[in-house]
């Protein structure tokens, strides 16, 4: 299984059974971008649910269509989701995402270490 992949919008890293997704700087998430991110994530997951640590600090704007896609299709095969948000803007995005209620275990964190603590119980045994 690949451990690291990158596309135009984000980088994806599988580590100790947790998938780390980091959005690139000043990204505008419009629908095709959201589709590509979800598609890349699902390709990496090989049909299995994973806990995900998603760093959204780089996201600059999200369109309504992209938001709806991330809430519906984007919540497939996620056992738990930790969103890392440090700026006021990324906090707003996490609040709105949580409001639109994807049916997954979801928490927002300022620090990555706390986010990892939350996700660890859901981690899959790493592939050898």
């Amino acid at each position: 299984m690949k451990k690291y992949v990158e596309n135009n919008f984000a980088s994806f890293r599988m580590e100790k059974g947790i998938l780390h997704i980091t959005y690139k700087e000043t990204i505008c998430l419009y629908l095709p971008a959201a589709m590509e991110v979800v598609s890349q994530r699902l390709i990496l997951q090989h049909g299995k649910p994973y806990p995900i640590l998603c760093d959204i600090r780089g996201v600059n704007d999200v369109t309504g269509e992209a938001r709806e896609y991330l809430v519906t299709e984007g919540s497939v095969l996620i056992s738990a989701l930790a969103l890392v948000a440090k700026t006021p803007l990324s906090h707003l995005y996490t609040e709105i995402y949580a409001l639109e209620t994807p049916p997954i275990r979801l928490k927002t964190f300022k620090e990555e270490t706390m986010a990892m603590e939350f996700l660890r119980p859901f981690a899959r045994i790493p592939d050898l």
């Binding site: 095709p32 979800v38 699902l42 049909g47 299709e73 006021p88 803007l89 707003l92 049916p103």
Partner: protein
Amino acid sequence: MDQLVNRIRLKKITAQIVEMFKGNFSLRIERTDLKDDLEALAAAINFLSEEIHKSILRHSFKDPDNIFGLTAQLYFILDRSSRIVKANKSAHKFLDFTQGDITGNSFNTLLSKESQKTWKDMVGKPNGSSEGETCIRLSFLTKTGLVLPAECKVVHFGKDGILRDNILVTSCHILPSKKRPARSPLEKYDPLSQIAHQKSQSPNCYKHILYSSDIIYIRAAREYITDHLQSPMPLIEIAHIVGTNEYKLKRGFKELYGLTVFQYIKDQRLRKARLLVLYTNKSIRSIAKMVGFKKGNHLSREFKKRFHHSPTDLRTLGIDPKDFFNTLA
């Protein structure tokens, strides 16, 4: 310097709030690369404006006979070097310019930075100047610095006819909603003016009004439905869980989201099923169960109706997921 930049950003936020107060929800605040509190405020106002705009669209299109009374068409006639030859009144009004302000200027001056690039790429294409029609998404900038996102149709005219060698750019927008004059307290209690007021209401006016308390339980119902897609749920039960009755939930849900509860449930199930078909090896039967269909053939039937191919076809045809998404985008 920072103070000056922030003052300009605040000015734009104020301008957007004034536009919203006027009933114009088509405009957006131009976003910057910053991520501070001011930017979060701009993003939040844009989200709000977008939601209200969507809701207005949903309600307006319920009454298709009145569509021309609710929308305005913006048009610009450009010469081959993209200079504005003419723009109609609506274009001036929506963008807050006077006729003299824009005639003779480059069309680019009306566009956001990103759209300037899109426009340049389009007219610079080898076939960009040949006769024909193209659809393109552009963002116009108003005089106050707000953004008007627009789905535009660009028509290139050939060497013959009245518009020879010119380019026509058009887009359609919802007009700012007109405010009804408030009724005076005297009128409210006068039986004759009450009858006149009732008569003046068109028969197509909303008979069903949503109050904020209704919106809270409808949102709660949607949340419950999304969290329990796997288990079949009678509507009456959902209504009781969120504290209302079946009739109110049915009417209110359609009013708020533009879909019936069952259409919403089916839509959510099918969208998730499609991704599971594409990205897992699970059997169609187990995917059906995962998303809440009782049987695999029920999923296949609904899947085919919605996506025009069965789930099995989607797998066996070996569609590259990215191509598949690109065709949907």
